[in-house]
Symmetry: C2
Subunit: 325 residues, 2 copies
């Protein structure tokens, strides 16, 4: 993906229906670390069961994957040709209303938590709500605890105001692990230039999404269009704040998409739910090579391509996963 | 309390540390129905255990109390000299994020649910949050389900905007079971005149609180001051929308007050938490007789006193607990 392989290749969000074949595909593609989604709407007990499943996978598939608790583990993965797995939540539902569960989940290896997933929750407002109150009382307290532990604050599915509030309240840089600029496609999941500038100015990171609904022209988005958008974003906030968070979700049925979108309560029409097709040039981990090639063709230097493909995330995770002093 | 006893006497909120002696005191005072708090921050499992406890109490103390599932049960209680117990939640935490749990808890006898308790939750904003987004997507869906079932929407601890939103979205009148006008004491738990007028205009009910922090002059509030406030509120929204929700909380330690206020996450200083003293003229259920006397001395007719002491709540519960047609 980059000939020197000086930096690890990192995908800051994949949420597939995991099995050994996916782990083999990641290792084969040369992906050194991937942030995986443990919880969408899951409560504490459900999440503990999911982490238990990951513990079994780490044991069963140890020739392919290993758990990432610090950046050292990403280097270990790179050196041994495996993929480091960063456990993360796309929602704060696992901590329910209990402050103490943040540290408990950190002890269990969770290193990234998104404050909200689409809807309002106890920490803040999600991007699909009609009105936006920003970070709640509990949200401010939770961020302080995440800062202390070295659990990264993710705001990908979070409302604009909650994103700004999180940047302001967090004493450490935060991440949008998987989203694109609103100027690329005007959907609530993408982010305004003002927000992206504030993110970059605070030392934060943006992971570009390849989920079709976040792309100009959806499934028909060309590699060139995507890479030109990366160029424009580098001009806007600086290449050092950019990475990938592909949002690659493989092998789920439409029932799981319905669950991801609506949880246990939304009243959308399930028959209308279907997975969009990823662009032809990005349908599997190995296609990250296409992205790297496209970035170089769009004018990025080889070293900048390496930064976008994982070097920036590596630096960010190395700092962000350290406990506060 | 009223000589004819044509209407039941109803207290629309008590949250004591219940035991047989409290049930005996209610029956002895001639209280025909009381809305009790099953859950403050409790999740589904914790709440099921609490309902299980109530089921045992209904069996053990059946000469004193009975469960209220409809207004007929309040009349049964009145006729047999017992106290009907209306099970209610002060928070939506028991339904977690699961729409289907609303009907489940209705089947188990819960007839009142407050949308939020002080803080932001999945349904709406609480009265202690800094910013106020009103009712959430889930909140609108939950109210629709409560309307269908005949579960009463309570907004006592809810933010101003969420109260207005609930009045607008609910197809049936809603309740503020325990609060006072903001003009009586300017605290976030009390309600603005604009909100009270909207509540009354929509057929809703206000239960006056006797919790000291909701009273002018706190523990030193006189019976006359309290009753004059009732007169002013009757002038504002009509006597037919008024009742009592005393918020009488007996026999809890300061640890439980800390839990009620902060749940499992707030970072307030526990050493600063203590129960305020109720006014000398209202310290036990029997003191409702003092309130009835005070209302008459403040100029209410005997029939209006009977309406405020329970007749209005009886009418409201008779309609509100009926399933939608």
């Amino acid at each position: 993906m980059n000939s020197s392989k000086s930096f690890p290749v990192i995908d800051a969000l994949q949420a597939s229906n995991w099995s050994r074949s996916h782990f083999a595909a990641l290792a084969d593609a040369g992906v050194d670390a991937v942030h995986v989604t443990v919880a969408f709407w899951h409560d504490c007990m459900e999440t503990l069961a999911k982490i238990g499943q990951w513990n079994r996978w780490f044991e069963q598939h140890q020739t392919l994957i290993l758990p990432v608790r610090s950046a050292d583990d990403i280097e270990r993965a790179q050196q041994s040709g495996r993929t480091g797995i960063i456990l993360g939540f796309q929602n704060s539902s696992p901590i329910e209303d209990d402050f103490a569960l943040i540290e408990i989940f950190h002890q269990l290896g969770v290193r990234i938590m998104q404050l909200t997933y689409n809807n309002q929750n106890l920490l803040g407002t999600g991007c699909y709500e009609k009105s936006d109150a920003g970070l709640t009382k509990f949200g401010r307290i939770a961020i302080r605890e995440m800062n202390r532990l070295g659990m990264i604050v993710d705001v990908s599915h979070t409302s604009e105001r909650t994103c700004f509030d999180a940047i302001e309240h967090s004493t450490r840089p935060i991440a949008i692990t998987h989203a694109n600029p609103l100027s690329f496609r005007n959907v609530v999941r993408n982010k305004s230039d003002e927000l992206l500038k504030a993110l970059g100015a605070s030392g934060g990171m943006l992971g570009f999404s390849l989920y079709p609904l976040h792309l100009a022209n959806g499934s028909d988005c060309s590699l060139e269009e995507f890479c030109e958008m990366v160029v424009r974003t580098a001009d806007l906030i600086g290449v050092e704040h950019l990475g990938l968070g592909t949002d690659l979700c493989l092998d789920w049925g439409s029932d799981y998409l319905e669950y991801m979108r609506g949880g246990t309560w939304d009243d959308q029409d399930a028959s209308a739910v279907h997975w969009p097709a990823y662009p032809g040039w990005f349908r599997k981990p190995h296609d990250l090579h296409n992205v790297a090639r496209g970035l170089q063709q769009a004018g990025f230097s080889q070293s900048d391509v390496a930064l976008i493909m994982g070097g920036n995330w590596f630096r960010f995770f190395r700092e962000g996963m350290r406990p506060a002093e």
